[in-house]
Symmetry: C2
Subunit: 164 residues, 2 copies
Amino acid sequence: MTGSHTLGETEARVANRLSHMALDFEAMAVSSNLFRAASAVRNHFERNVLSESGLSWTAFVVLWVTWIWEPAETRDIAAEAGISKATLTGVLSTLEKLDLVVRTRSTEDGRLVLVTLTKKGHDLMENLFPAFNRQEVEVVSPVAPGKRSELADMLRAITEKIEG
Amino acid sequence: MTGSHTLGETEARVANRLSHMALDFEAMAVSSNLFRAASAVRNHFERNVLSESGLSWTAFVVLWVTWIWEPAETRDIAAEAGISKATLTGVLSTLEKLDLVVRTRSTEDGRLVLVTLTKKGHDLMENLFPAFNRQEVEVVSPVAPGKRSELADMLRAITEKIEG
DNA sequence: TTTATATTGTTCGTATCCAAACAATCTCGA
DNA sequence: TCGAGATTGTTTGGATACGAACAATATAAA
């Protein structure tokens, strides 16, 4: 159960308490479940797959994006990972401390910083990512295989609506 | 665009770079878009509806859960909001500082803490929640109305799979 | 009655997270 | 060539986020 009260109890209570308001329960259900699911997935991965390499969810995502596009510019990594550049600076500091990435100021544009994985970073991702992906499969297994693309599309549409 | 590269570019790059691995792209797409959408929704609400009352997304959720069930026990609020009790302690401190809630130690069980909204808290929610819900409607508008319940159900199934 | 075990909320340490401010760099138009 | 405006990454301050450890309280069994 995702909380102490069932969904039915919650909606009944909300309907009763807020009957003087015109509310859209479907929209409410989508956004609350979106947040709950994302939080549960993140915690699950941090507790299981990621815990032995000492990576947080976001550190892993940053490492993954850099792995795919290296050498990667920090402004692009932040955009791909969906975090601010301020946050990325801190997460890269953590990854550097773990000796997983290296930051280099661009020679072509002094404003830009390029990031690459170290050998240790590459070795880690070669082993960690398949395990990560197996957990991804596990986590989405309650969703019918035919519905997973549709789910991803709906989620992407929500993000695009917000970020234009 | 949700990142500097389109989805197609990313998948092509991943397929090329990781062709030696057996990967499930659908599972990958679901979990990455889940996290991106939740993050985008949260940031959108914090920047818009919630910014003038100085509330974070989580502070709002805690206030809302307490509003619905008050007097509410902290262990239930944490469970409903999907955050740890350690985090709830800090968020309640923030809400108390804003004079929106009051914490009381239970007289029946000395381990428990009960939370209620202040008058200021009630007044805030009467005005803020309808505006919040209107933004929820806006944010889910890219998803066809007939599909919203289905989307909420799939997300709920993922959370329940993880949290048992 | 006593002791062991469980539950609760808080504290601590550490990481993430963002907006705002800032310094450095780049670009473009006059 | 120079100055205005834009872009980049970092720093700062404050909030969230969690696991582990801890103290206080409750419960159950001997």
